[in-house]
Each structure stands twice: as C-alpha cells, then as structure tokens.
Symmetry: C2
C-alpha cells in the first residue's frame, strides 16, 4: 500500500522516486495522480516527503486535478534560457535544465529509482545525459519486484472497491454476451445475424468495447475470444474473421480497466454454443474441479507458487502433462495458476517459474486463479478464471461471481 | 519511410534496431508489426536484413499475424535452463538467456539502438544487466529525431490513407457533436437534456468515445472539450462536470487513432453555442485569418519553424504577445504552429523552440497547422487546427475538410 512506500525506500536505500510520462495509461504514475489528461510530467517523491509534480505550464490545470503539490517548470526553470546557454543543443539544454532542477530539489547525490511507462529510447538518452551532468546520482531500475510494485501489491479498501466495480462491469458484459449468443439464429452450425450472415468474432469484440465504454471502462490490452484451435493457445486473442460455430470451445477472457488506464479486472469462462462434445465436457469438468479445489486450499501468507505446484499435481493425477514437469510443453497444463492484478493486469504476486520470495499471498492482495487445459492439436482449450481478494482478516473473496456453465443454449 | 531505415542505419552507424514491448499502443513496434494482441515481444532488425520477432510460445499465433519472420524463444533458448544455471536469480538468468540469444543473432559487438514504449524501470535494469554480459555492445537511445522517428516522418501512400480514414471518422464525429448540441433545449443559458438537467462535458466525451469505438477508433490520449477559462489553457481537457453555457468559447480538439494504437488524426474547432461576443468573434476571425494565411504560404522543403515565426509575426501585428518574443508568456499566441503526426499524435517535424535541422516540410509528411489565441484571464481560448499532407508532388492537402463556423445555432 502507499503507506509502505517510505519504509520500502528506507529498506532499499532509495532517496528519490522519479516517475515520468503521462497521467494516463501509466500505472506507476496513475498510482499517485489518478487518471488525468497531462501527457508529459515528472513526479518526484523524496523519502519521507509528499510527492510533487513538475510540469509544463500548459498542463497546469490537469496536474492540479491530482490534488498533489505541483510546480510549473516555467517559474524557476525557463527552458529557453538553458537552450540559449547550450547554443541550441537541445539535449544539452534539457540535461542542464534537469540538473538545475535536481539541485533545486536536493537530488544531487542520491539513489534515484526510475518509474513510468514511456518511450525507452528517449528515457535512456535522458538518463545517460543526466549521468554525465550529475555523476553522484545513481539511477536505479528494477527488473522485478520494483519498490512501487511491492507497494502496489497490497490494496487499500478504496482500490479494492474500484476493482470490484470493474468486476461488476465485467460480469454484466459477460452476461450480455451470453444473452446475445443465445438469441441469434443458427444456420449451417453457425450463429447468423438477421440477414443470415455468419456473425464474426470481430463483431462480438466491437460490441464488448461499446458496452465497456458505456460503463466508463476500456480494454487497452484487448479481449480474448478464441474458438477451437485458437482457444488452445493461451494468448491467442481469436481470429477476428472467425465464425461462431456450435460445439467448439470458446475461451472468453476479458480484462478491462477503468478508462484511461485505471484498475483492471480479469475473468475467463469457457463456453460451447448449443452443445459440448464428451471430450470438452470432461476437460471442462477437470478444470472446474481444480479451480474449486485450489480456491478452497488457499491460505494467507503462503507462497503463491505453492498453488501452481499443487495445480500441476492435480492435473498430473488426471493424466495431463504440465509445464512444471516439462517447461517447453505446448499441450496439457501449460500456464501458471494466476497472477496479481491492479493498475497492471499482471503484477505481483506471481506464481510461475520466475516467482520469488515476495510472491506471497499477503493479506490485501488481489489476484487471479485461472487453471486451464490446452490441446490445440485437438482444437480444444479450456480456462476458468476468477479474480480474488485476500482481505486483511485473511478471507479469500471472489470479487464478482458468475456461473461456470459450459454450454450456452442456442435457438433451434 | 520504411525504405529509408537501412540507409539511416548506415548513416548513423547503427547495426541493430531492438524494438521491445507490446504489439499494441507502442508506435515503434506497430510501425513494423501492425496492431495485434501480443503483450511482450522483442523485434530485432539487423542492417540490410528483414526484421525478426522473438516471442514467448503463448504469443505464437498473434505474432504470426504480423506477417514478419518469427522465432519462439522456447525452441532455442528455454528459460528454465538459464534459471537453473543462475540458481534461481531471475535477472541473471534473463541476461544470460538474452546473451545467448544475442550471440545466436550475431549481436555481440554492435551499436544497438533501442525502441519501444515500455516500463522504463524494467528496461533500464535489463540494459544495465546486458551491458555487464555483453560489454562490447553499445546501447543507443535517442533524445529526439530517433532513427525510427526520422523514417516514420515521411509516410507511404498506405499510411496516408489510414490517416485520411481517421480524418473521415473525426469529422463525422465532430458533425455529430455539432448536431447534438444544436438539438438540445436551453434553460438558464445552458444546454439541458430531456429531463431538464444541464448536460455536462463528461456526457459529451462519453458519446464521442462511443462514436469512435463504433468506427474502430479510440482516443487513448483523451479529447479536449474545454469551455471558457479552460479553453484559454492549451492542454486543459475540460472540466468533466462543466456545463455547456451559451456564448462561451469551446475549444474542441479531437485526436483519435485506430483502435489499439494505430494512426492518429488531429483536429480542432472553436465553437460558441447560440452566439459569440464581439471579442470572441474578433479573436476567432484573427486565428482563422492566420490559419488560412499560413496554409497558403507553406512551401516544400522549408523549415517548419519558419512558419511558427511567420505566425508569430502575424499575431504580433494584430497586437498579441507571442511565445516567440517572450517564452514564459501565458496569454496571447503561446503555442507552436503545428507538429507532425502519425503513429504518435506528436512526432517530427516539430515547429517549436526545440525544432532542429530535421524538422523540414519534406514531401511525404503529415502535420498539423493549429494557430490559436489564449486569454484565460478573459475566459477565452480560440484554436483552429487541420491535418495536412504534403504529397510527393509538393502539394499541401487538408486530409479532412470541415467548416470553420464559430457559432453553433441552438434551439430557442
């Protein structure tokens, strides 16, 4: 949580957090500022001090909406002055300008941790130039478990309510899609529209986007609506021109967020239109069994990875090959059991091979459980996913309930 | 254009382009791959070779949609092996894994230019680790005029048609908004809905998003619908809870892109509902005069910055203070005359104080002309913006025409 940041800075000997980029679609920034329309700002947080936003003058009204302390560059650091001094060399001007600004902010011999989603070419050039101007400053990047990712891993009550609200939006839309599919005509084993033309995946996704936007949400990472073979490849988003054929498994994985890059929800159901083959029914029943079993066995303060191992054990007993036994497998249980989520759709804690000592089921986390079985050679994929909150009292709670039915009835 | 890339690599002595991140909302990646659903891939382009995508196995179907050469890591570089060798140190595993992969790709003593919009903390950590593993490799970032920005500055015919199509979408939506505003009831000098409640900016923006999504577009950078005082601050996006008051100037600046982070359009009109005061009419007429004048004076192969100076000259003659005379001014002509656009809403060529020798009106560019006058203290802002294509024959063409009328008639 945000209240952990100063302690984490102390533990990791970080003097300054530097968060750069937009106030939209930029998780580490939005964590501090909320979602507003400023495209390029710099937020600094010194240890044991409140954050402060430095901004171009044009952005003054938007940054003020953050409620944080703000400071326009123009008052103290007019760029034209530095550009003149640098005789038109813009990078030199920018880095001396930044140096003046670091000196003003007392960031001159410090460990500065960098954050933000931004053009890496630009940012790398800036950091290189700054290192020349300020050799005493050490810039710190994080490969994983960044200080802010650690803080963000546990959620405040307000954050949980935002995620729950996105869960409500998600299940509303899933219900609308189910209802829509149930009410189409069938021709040649496919759903068709009023004109008798087969409905495509693209059309379903467009409706999903419209329904999301109507509810103040968005799907910046897309939506998976993958049928048959495509369902068998976990990150195949579905063929836009694919038809909705009866009996084929559909993996419908929807992970929307608050419009502009806010909190995510993550949810999957597997459906068959009209009927399911025995084989799909069997795999679906197995996945659902593991889903319930894992959720029932979750305990606070256990490594998340334990439950990936447990899921693999359960699937192995059912006769499936698993990624835990054989890393480069493409059929069977080839995914990890879940991941944390929040302002990123994937964040700590993790459960896969790279999970570490910080990937613990800590009270306050929000995470997914999403067992699946993947057989692309048989045109089958099955995944079931819910988003779960581990509350401060140690209880696990699915944030948005929805039935697990495999078969979506269709009109005869 | 893409066909310039090998020449630019030669000129700048770059051996490899490394583009990282998602195939969505990541301009330098989308330039090569188009928009698809893979979230983390690495694209390498060696000089005089076609690009190749390296990807996690899960992403194999999505990367294939790019039409480029692809290679799953798993075939040659199974991560579990490196993780075992690194005794669980994930960053070490990742960097030795990357090293093996660089060696395979012959990137071992090279100048590697980095690109992509991605978490900078993560990317900086990776580059630091790679520099330890591969001390002969020099990683290059660009503060401005990056090699890909230079290539992307001039557009192919296909790119121009994509931008033109977004222009059509944009003007369709602007017309729908104008029509909507004209057809509302007025009460207490404000537009009201059927229930008699004042309509808010938030409601207008929601409709704009829905209409964009219906047309396969999106507005990831937001939309400016700024009224009165807010119109006087160029990047104020408008108060979501603001009402639509008659007679106040509205700066409506809409910059949508193809959904998923494709080509942008950029367009602004200034409107007054019902009537405009003499002062606003005068300022609007001045801005429109400068708009037409600048467009009429554009010539190929001239520095874009010349036209910023020319606009300042024209506004100075009209009695306004300008940013060219006084950098930190907040009233008058305080913006630059325009910018290139494409996969970024702002890209080369630039016309402002930082513009350089590459910011030339080169045949093939697409750019905006957007003069404006800003008087927040008087609750006035006026901006008029069109997107223009300079074709290979040297002709300047507005890509989507739309009337410049200031007053939107409303119902009595």
């Amino acid at each position: 949580m945000k209240t952990d940041i100063d302690r984490l800075m102390q533990e990791e000997n970080i003097d300054v957090l530097w968060v750069t980029g937009s106030m939209m679609n930029n998780p580490d920034m939005v964590y501090f500022t909320g979602i507003h329309n400023a495209s390029t700002i710099n937020l600094f947080k010194l240890r044991d001090k409140p954050p402060i936003i430095f901004h171009d003058n044009f952005e003054r009204d938007e940054v003020a909406k953050s409620g944080l302390k703000t400071q326009s560059y123009i008052d103290k650091f007019p760029f034209d002055k530095y550009l003149k001094e640098a005789r038109g060399n813009v990078l030199k001007a920018y880095s001396t300008w930044f140096k003046a600004f670091f000196i003003e902010t007392c960031i001159t011999s410090s460990r500065v941790a960098i954050f933000g989603k931004k053009d890496i070419s630009y940012t790398y050039a800036i950091i290189k130039a700054l290192k020349r101007e300020l050799p005493q400053v050490e810039f710190i990047g994080y490969f994983k478990d960044s200080l802010l990712k650690q803080a963000r891993m546990t959620k405040s009550q307000a954050e949980v309510e935002q995620i729950r609200q996105m869960g409500n939006v998600t299940t509303q839309i899933v219900a609308k899609v189910a209802n829509l599919l149930s009410n189409q005509k069938v021709k040649d084993n496919k759903l068709v529209n009023k004109g008798g033309h087969p409905i495509t995946v693209k059309e379903i996704k467009k409706l999903i986007r419209l329904w999301l936007v109507e509810r103040g949400a968005d799907n910046p990472e897309g939506t998976i609506f993958a049928i048959g073979h495509d369902a068998g490849v976990p990150h195949n988003a579905g063929d836009p021109n694919g038809f909705l054929e009866l009996g084929k498994p559909i993996v419908f994985d929807i992970f929307p967020c608050e419009a502009g890059g806010g909190y995510f929800y993550d949810f999957t159901r597997t459906w068959c239109l009209g009927y399911a083959t025995d084989e799909v029914q069997k795999l679906h029943a197995q996945v659902l069994k593991v889903h319930h079993k894992i959720i029932s066995e979750l305990r606070p303060n256990r490594p998340f990875r334990d439950f990936q191992k447990r899921a693999s054990e359960l699937f192995t007993k059912m006769g499936h090959v698993t990624i835990e036994k054989q890393f480069n497998v493409t059929e069977g249980y080839i995914h990890c059991i879940g991941h944390g989520l929040g302002l990123n759709v994937h964040e700590n804690p993790f459960s896969g091979i790279s999970a570490g000592e910080r990937d613990i089921l800590t009270p306050g986390i929000v995470f997914t459980i999403e067992p699946g079985l993947y057989y692309p050679s048989k045109n089958i994929g099955v995944r079931i996913e819910d988003t779960i909150y581990l509350n401060p009292q140690g209880k696990f709670e699915i944030l948005a309930d929805y039935p697990y039915d495999l078969v979506i009835p269709v009109k005869n």
